[in-house]
């Protein structure tokens, strides 16, 4: 952890010094770039909201729990412990929600247990796929994602399997 806190500040500092050496108009340039952020966020808001409204209902209705209990035996075939099942299912939908779940797992099993280590690696090998695709495609003309989502989900499951396998040895 020690050195990683320096990466961002040093990179930003280096960028500004480099821009100064090149005598660029940094202030105006920053403002110009920052302007774009507003339109971008305004553009993606309805897409994220629509997805998250569905996820909220899915969890409140208990259907998420049913899905977890149905999928647990399937996941254990891949060597994925049942304790991380809910994380694996929630991960494609909700970024902040899955971080909350990860904290719960740490609390319950202790951060250095096999389950917690698996869960930690899963967070990096998987991605909030539904969120990312909603956001990334929000500014395009694409209506149907073809096989993109199943492919991403399949690869994410593969990543989880690899993660659980590696955690046994490292």
């Amino acid at each position: 952890m020690g050195f990683s806190v320096y990466i961002m500040p040093v990179l930003i500092l280096a960028l500004l010094i480099y821009a100064r050496v090149k005598k660029l108009e940094t202030y105006g340039t920053f403002v110009k770039g920052a302007k774009g952020a507003f339109d971008l966020v305004l553009g993606i808001f309805p897409f994220i909201a629509t997805i998250m409204i569905m996820v909220a209902l899915l969890r409140a209705s208990g259907i998420m729990d049913i899905l977890v209990s149905v999928m647990a035996p399937v996941f254990s075939l891949f060597g994925i412990p049942p304790e991380v099942c809910e994380l694996e299912l929630l991960r494609p939908f909700a970024g902040s929600g899955s971080y909350m779940l990860l904290s719960d797992i740490f609390q319950q099993y202790g951060p250095d247990s096999y389950v917690s280590r698996c869960a930690s690696v899963i967070m990096s090998t998987s991605e909030t796929i539904f969120y990312v695709s909603a956001v990334y495609f929000s500014q395009t003309s694409v209506k149907k994602l073809f096989y993109a989502i199943p492919l991403a989900l399949g690869l994410s499951l593969f990543g989880t399997t690899v993660a659980c396998f590696l955690c046994r040895f490292i």
């Binding site: 110009k32 770039g33 994220i48 998250m52 796929i129 395009t140 694409v142 096989y147 990543g159 993660a163």
Partner: protein, 189 residues
């Protein structure tokens, strides 16, 4: 997306009508509010990153990074547009450093440029999504931080399996996506 969303909505609302009908509208409103506050956060974060990105652009560093990654990006996406290459290069490198928030605006820009306006998804668009979904991570800073605050005796112990795991997943993902591309996009060229 359309079908999945509709069916899951119908299923959830039907179940909730029997369990707790008042929760339907409350849950929807709360979720929407959560997303609104997420977007306020995103706006703040994007403002910083897009401001810095514009400076990176002006210094010509973005083009240099794109030149460095060009052979790889060309092989991966089969594109020749330098502007798109630059966005993809910045998107991929910030992903690897675990800077999800910095990579998103560049990913959106790259995706927009890959769009041919036909309403149909193209092979490079799928590749960009997959590369983003399975990126190699060298610095899982958020998870390490969470582990430290949960009282782990060795919070960084997951870095090695994370790098290895994401590397294996990423390489596999690229080859699987390439293979599927050959099957599904052969004639569309």
């Amino acid at each position: 997306m359309n079908k999945i969303w509709t069916y899951l909505m119908i299923l959830s609302i039907t179940a909730l009508i029997f369990i707790e009908p008042s929760a339907v509208v409350t849950e929807m409103t709360n979720a929407s509010l959560d997303v609104l506050s997420l977007c306020v956060n995103l706006l703040a974060v994007f403002t910083i990153w897009m401001g810095l990105l514009e400076i990176v652009d002006a210094t010509g560093l973005g083009d240099k990074l794109a030149n460095l990654l060009k052979p790889f990006i060309r092989w991966l996406f089969k594109i020749k547009d330098p502007e798109t290459e630059k966005y993809i290069a910045l998107n991929m490198s910030s992903n690897m450093l675990g800077l999800g928030n910095a990579s998103t605006p560049m990913g959106i820009k790259a995706m927009k440029r890959l769009d041919d306006g036909s309403g149909k998804i193209t092979a490079p668009m799928i590749m960009l999504l997959i590369v983003n979904a399975t990126s190699i991570q060298f610095l899982p800073t958020t998870v390490v931080g969470l582990r430290a605050s949960a009282g782990s005796i060795d919070p960084t112990s997951i870095i090695l399996p994370t790098i290895l795991g994401t590397f294996i997943t990423s390489v596999t993902a690229i080859f699987v996506t390439k293979a599927l591309e050959k099957i599904f996009f052969k004639r569309r060229g």
